[in-house]
Symmetry: C2
Subunit: 390 residues, 2 copies
């Protein structure tokens, strides 16, 4: 519990839910008849509506990016380290918008919502959603908020993939795209880990073909396993060595199947906590959106052609020990951007923490992030001048 809220926090925040009545045709061929998006906003939109920043979330993320929902919250939003007064995404300068994506389980329309056409829970019938669909839904959200052009769209991991998709699909609606710890598409190994997670969930007897809510149960074991596997891929071998090494829970081996090592009980705890808070159908959907992500596919598998659509400027950031989306994968994006003649800054940050490093305020990362956001801020001021002059 934060006895006092830190000065560089956005403070107490409240989510709001927006209803969209216009049907949304999806890449999979189906259509969402209507939907809700739950969002949080921090800071003030300026008169010219040119200081809007969209934050896109990763696999298990949501709209609660910064600040606290109540004075009793143990922890702030998931990217509080980067969002707040004086932080890289400076809420004194920017109007920050974060949402829970369609298919999510934190308040936007998803598998736990009622299908208006049947009056029943969607459950496993919720349509497959892709990063392209999310970007369209986010563009409609921008319309609703009166934002014609984002100063920047920003995201890490799957969030970075959405920032890249924005640049391709809506080139005139963002000035900057910040693609952090991402990849142009998943590798076979990435897909393989996702498939393990999906099998763990869908083969759990508690899954009931996705109709677990009707059975008043959840596929708890499957979700736990999915998260344990996922969690290993978010950390680096080095960071796990630093954090746990071969430390024993009781100082000696049990010679039974209790958790002997600290790392075992840590993973069990992470998995159990997650399994109690995250929806299984959503997890399946999010991993599929990752697998399907491939913006080059619409351009004859030519990433350069895909990124040639973009008119914004780019910051691409990777982390040395990230083995989920290694620096090599970010360099593929950078190379394609350069080949497409785009403006791109690239930073490869020395960091022990693996994929999770994108959430951690590592000094060089924050310096670069700050410096780049100053540039974003300048382009806001310029567009304000243009607006004032016109």
């Amino acid at each position: 519990m934060p006895k006092t809220i830190p000065e560089d926090s956005v403070g107490l925040v409240e989510p709001q839910t927006l209803h969209f009545a216009k049907p949304l045709p999806l890449v999979c061929g189906r259509t969402l008849p209507s939907y809700d998006l739950i969002i949080e906003t921090y800071g003030e939109l300026n008169e010219s509506a040119s200081n809007g920043i969209l934050i896109c979330h990763a696999l298990s993320g949501h709209h609660h990016v910064a600040g606290y929902h109540s004075m009793d919250d143990r922890k702030p939003g998931w990217w509080d380290s980067a969002v707040g007064p004086g932080k890289p995404i400076d809420t004194d300068r920017f109007f920050v918008v974060a949402l829970n994506n369609l298919g999510g389980c934190h308040g936007s329309t998803g598998p736990n919502s009622t299908n208006p056409e049947t009056g029943e829970l969607y459950g496993p019938d919720f349509p497959m959603v892709t990063a392209k669909d999310w970007v369209v839904s986010q563009a409609r959200l921008a319309d609703r908020l009166g934002i014609q052009c984002w100063a920047a769209v920003i995201g890490g991991s799957l969030g970075g993939m959405q920032a890249m998709q924005w640049a391709i699909d809506f080139p005139d609606r963002l000035k900057h795209s910040l693609v952090i710890a991402a990849a142009p598409k998943l590798s076979a190994q990435n897909i393989a880990f996702n498939e393990v997670a999906r099998q763990a969930i869908s083969k759990d007897p508690g899954f009931h073909q996705g109709r677990y809510r009707e059975q008043e149960t959840i596929p708890k074991r499957g979700l736990m396993l999915a998260r344990m596997v996922g969690h290993i891929t978010y950390l680096s071998d080095d960071s796990m060595a630093d954090k746990f090494g071969r430390d024993l829970r009781k100082g000696k081996f049990s010679y039974d199947f209790d958790a002997d090592f600290e790392v075992e009980s840590y993973l069990r705890y992470q998995g159990e906590t997650f399994s109690e808070t995250f929806d299984a159908n959503t997890y399946l959907l999010m991993t599929k959106a990752l697998d399907y992500y491939d913006p080059a596919a619409d351009y004859d598998d030519d990433l350069v052609a895909a990124l040639s659509q973009a008119t914004c400027q780019f910051l691409v950031v990777s982390f040395t020990t990230d083995w989920r989306f290694s620096p090599q994968r970010s360099r593929e994006i950078v190379d394609a951007l350069i080949a497409a003649g785009k403006s791109v800054n690239y930073a490869e940050i020395e960091a022990a923490q693996g994929h999770d490093a994108f959430l951690i305020p590592i000094p060089r990362y924050m310096e670069i992030f700050n410096a780049y956001m100053d540039r974003v801020s300048s382009s806001v001021e310029k567009s304000e001048e243009v607006t004032n002059a016109s």
Copy 2:
């Protein structure tokens, strides 16, 4: 089915089961009252019993290393690429011994054996076995076969760990130790993946606290998941990219939870096949033996002190894309051997195949393996001369 058995094969082979009536005290504090070891041997033991080679197996391995059990076998033993006439472990020169380790599920005493003290299946009550215990049981096997000193003890992965343990625990009973694709102990990440496998198996409702045989079922889903995770760690990101990339099974996305990508159906198949042939309690035991492996622990965590016990010569081999036990882990062994003043040859093999590379006849690997085994053969000849002279 091999219509004709290749000339460089050991041909048709037959396992034999040896009974050991003398109780075996184990590191865990319990004692096996008696036990069987199933073995295969290839080649002829020479008069001085100096040409014996022991092959130790990895997590899911067994005694069937080379050749065929019947003309109908689709595949030969698991290391047929390295064992046979004219191959590195040349059965024209060496007497090769391979066994299934205690706790195994291929014929040696393990969870599926009857506990002679109760007349019931051991099941989950089978005692925890460690690499140190295996080495003791293998020394007794050597006694039974009349082999005082192995020309070499050889293994990959967990097998290589046993070869290292041999050099420490029975220094005067081997001339050479070949430690391939191994590590001096598991990292936190290694243990974490093992823990995912164990949770998958033990949380499967079909596990019944390890008493699944009495229930006439098996924890099939859990074993399948365990193998899927394991399999990913045996391959490299590169080799998965080469083998599968993002190839689709049906040329387009299903937008449902069918296997869209080739890599998904490959993993499902690997997992299912394994779940039908491997015992769950054995899998749990083998992963624990890996986690517990730490020969330095008996020497104040000083690997140099541990390896100072050794009097044999060493070949250590690693593979560039092995991320389960990376070259760095082999270099830790090599550095400790050098610090201990031992004779060690080290080869880091350029290979795309990840951890599994140790099973693949990669030209440079085979050249080095052959050259080193020539040296082993020379030491056999020398000891024969000594025997003849005496």
